[in-house]
Symmetry: D2
Subunit: 348 residues, 4 copies
């Protein structure tokens, strides 16, 4: 029997999500997002965010990110993102595909966060030479980041503010948005439209859904047509969209999304505390959401594996591993993990 | 209370499919199609088709069609399809998008079928001028067709045979493949690889699934890598792919797919019989699967609407309507439809 | 010794063009179309056309056509053109490439001309289904046509008028524009902006230049930025653009372009007269510019070849040949051709 | 009266090139690179390089670079180049356009040279995660570099060797290839195919031609078809290609190309010597070809401008300027420049 801390992508769906699917599965419903569930999305998300919100339901975050970036960036435009951003390192060039060859420019920064000065330096270097240069078109932030850290509202506003001065669009990849909001214990508006974010890839699959994501527009609602064209043209307009929308509605109803994320964060924090107290293992990055990166010895990691703990070694350098906590991780599972970490428990 | 004959896209999922989702929703599973369900697909579909079959699970038919065509066609290549084919008229250019500007060439033909001579004439006209011309790269047939008709194995072989002589790849859009196989009462191999079809978009969503399709490769298994790259890059590699694969496995287990399709076909046939016996209404195309196109008067169609019948007027010309029968259409619903058709029932 | 009637593409440059190159070849000049020659283009072409004209110098007509169409058509848009249009049959999909997968829709019509009703029928068939359909975005006419015929101002206005009602952009492929204007003996404005044409691919290479074409914008001058981006991004922004612009300036100075075209047309007319008087050979299309399509017997064409006449057999059907007359075709050459046509001159 | 050191792109064509155009301008010639000049290219360049060479004549270096990289890189492939490479910073994304969204990865390195370790680190970081990662597909070196430095044969071989071990293709952007060969005083083979370079963008426009470049294939001659398709589809297959090919033939005949480059290099060296001896001005990079980057004071640069010297300020940082020497730069012009540099000459 093993316990899986490999990825929240590997968790099952929450019961409430399955029940929502079951309820949605009755009788006919208009196809192509013209059903009763999909037609409620704008109203429900507008309530949630406290501002008019246009919702484009989708089944993957890669589609949401790519549609967002392609909608605001010409083929000769550049999108600035952190070097470790999912759009840059894990989507096999989906933004470039949707964006007909747009360019992603990787920006340095500690702990998965974009360094504002580094971004401004790159923007200056790559523009100003007329048609020979790329046009700086958008910035994309990841919240929570690929390092398990979280931007504060002020940090977000500082970056989006610079971007807006240059006429650039602003996007947030929120594959783990719930974890960030739960961590900050803030209103979702505080880290999105109130902080200058115009478009949000709202993730739900990792945090308890089966396959449900959405592109949210807080601004530029006129991008809807372009986004819908891109969704259709990329094969993401599901005929039976009701099943995605029903997941999304159940996910944000009664605070379910934050409850699920809070559990994942709490379990991560417990493990982080254990690592912090460990004589050898070390936290690689601040633990602010549901991901914990640990530096340890090869023997140490073998000891965990021997205890039935599953996790991923991180390829950037030797002896770095990632542990991800999910909406359904139990106290018992985390306790087992923490216990396995203890010295002298015995190696393989 | 209305009865919906608008589209099989508007039907709910079959109970067995929901149960399969529920069963799959237990414990962790590796992400990105590396789960126990997805890893069974090749074996189960190979059994079903009686030949080695590579399966790429997907959530829409547009994605399956586009990945298939893009995998075998260079940007300067042409794909020949019937003028009414979904890839040509209903996908907003998805094949061109995935194929980096490949060209779809519409071929004339009666009843939704490709006319072989018309196809050969267009191939000749558009090639032979070196780099100035398009390279004829693939043919795509739709089975059952957009007109509700069905190709016989011989008709398929005749077209794929010509294509293969020219070094072209062969693809079948099987959005309603089950309806065709149920109609012909043949082995699925007979209208696919045995008839020269190398790639099949195997549809399941319309016939009882929620969102489950697959690209099947019977040949050129080396296309798998390209297909998987295109799936990832287009955002169609679901992290929790188990939920698509579980649907597909349940769909083809114990002949469920053919059972569901047979019901739809049977209901369509009953309605076709009623139309055939009607003094004014007329069948526009032979009824060989689950779609029935009816020519009638404006007053006639109003009479149906008044009886609570929902259907779609077909835009090509006046007074043409389409009725689609689904896996869950009941005898009672079809009986109500047939009754509403009868003369003197009274208008709205 | 042979005489070449294969294509005006095979003719050398006119002396005045070479002289212009020589004059331009003195001292340094700013690169990338910021030189004294390029900076004169807008003024000179505005004078020529009698309206404000934005000029984008280029070295091929394919680039001009593709940039024009891509600038006004989204990837999910359709461009309507005659079935024999160069953009459809001879550019290996360049418009689709520049336009990120836009669709060209071939329209039927006699003698190389777009049939307005056929175009409207196709527009209706391919639109109106929301994001599932293509958006009708542009119409492209060829003047003179690929059949050697010429649209009258009224014929052009009728087609552009329909297009504009639908919000479509209008483009003219003027690879042989000079031949059309010389033939109609009209002002160049009469068949362009006054007849509703917003963008013109102004051809010069075939009619006496080495490699000089231009995209002219009579309207939507704001497209200039997009067009210049596409020019750069496709590698068509020559560093030493002065040599293209110098050709263009010399070409339109003092009516040279019309003089050269008039000679080509006159020679074509002489040959057309001879064919018309011939007992067996037959003109396939009206001869209105510098191309003559002749139907004859295989023996007949052999007789011409034996007399040293070079021409191209046309692949659409047996025993059809094309003869093209150039800016430098001499009376003596045409006389030799006409003489070779005469019966009983002797076979191979 | 001013003297232009802004760019070799601003120089006129050499007399021998104009004469070649004049000679080529006689009588008809087959179109689309099927003329007598174009058909000689393979033989002449094979002699020059001492190995079988396939030549694709083109009119810009951007087209040559983009066609080369797109021919060997799938849309999900990555091309590694130096951060200052023209393909990365000055082509508005042409490689991404031709390559359907391929990715260029900027590699650090001093003096415009790729740092091999930096490249290997980036390759490792961006690959190995299956379809989620980019496939490392090609490396592109610039010779001479954008900093005016030159790779030795050993430096080239070290980088191409690593690339080949990983199955990557190797490309050289030789916009200033002649300057590099003249500088190294080596055989052109030594820094190309003998050093592991498979494809060369052979530049000629900057060094005495009007608009003449070529993509050379030393290996993978089967890429010719793809390259020719890309040339056609991008609008770079000139109908009257003889005029490009005639320039290329004249350029490499009798060592003209190296003679012209040697003059440019010699003038650059003289100026570099003067800068080196100057009390304040400083050479920013080693001067190994025909470009000289100078750090000085704002007042210093004003002093040069006052003396009629034209040059470009370099945007990366304050008070950095570039001086480029051309095939036709005279001793007198360079002497004037050196004199203007001298202290106490007096400010504007």
């Amino acid at each position: 029997m093993t316990i899986n801390f490999r990825s929240d992508n590997e968790s099952p769906a929450a019961d409430a999500i399955l029940s929502a699917l079951q309820e949605a599965n009755s009788g006919p419903a208009h196809a192509y997002a013209d059903d009763d569930w999909s037609l409620q999305l704008n109203a429900r998300f507008s309530e949630l965010f406290g501002t008019e919100t246009t919702v484009i339901p989708l089944s993957t975050g890669t589609a949401a990110n790519s549609i967002a970036l392609a909608a605001v960036t010409p083929p000769w435009g550049a999108v600035y993102c952190q070097r470790n951003a999912h759009v840059y390192t894990d989507e096999s060039g989906a933004p470039e595909f949707y964006g007909n060859g747009l360019r992603l420019v990787p920006v340095e920064g500690d702990d998965g966060l974009i360094d504002r000065n580094a971004m401004m330096g790159l923007i200056r270097a790559n523009t100003g030479h007329g048609v020979h240069s790329y046009a700086p078109s958008a910035v994309s932030l990841t919240q929570s980041t690929e390092r398990g850290t979280v931007y504060t509202p002020e940090q977000i506003a500082a970056i989006t503010g610079e971007a807006k001065k240059l006429g650039m669009a602003t996007h947030m990849d929120g594959a783990r948005f719930a974890n960030a909001v739960a961590s900050l214990d803030c209103h979702p508006a505080d880290v999105t439209w109130k902080a200058g974010v115009e478009m949000l890839s709202f993730g739900a699959s990792k945090n308890g859904c089966m396959a449900a994501e959405a592109l949210l527009l807080f601004d530029h609602h006129d991008l809807r047509e372009t986004a819908e064209r891109l969704r259709k043209r990329s094969g993401h307009l599901l005929s039976k969209m009701r099943y995605v929308s029903a997941q999304l509605l159940a996910y944000i109803a009664d605070g379910l999304w934050l409850e699920l994320a809070a559990n994942a964060n709490r379990q991560a924090a417990r493990f982080a505390f254990a690592v912090g107290a460990h004589p050898e293992a070390r936290l690689e990055f601040p633990v602010e959401a549901n991901e914990v990166f640990v530096s340890w010895s090869e023997d140490g990691f073998r000891q965990l594996e021997a205890a039935g703990i599953e996790f991923l070694m991180w390829p950037e350098r030797d002896n770095l591993a990632r542990f991800v906590f999910s909406h359904n991780t139990t106290d018992a599972e985390t306790a087992t993990l923490c216990k396995a970490l203890e010295p002298h428990v015995g190696a393989a």
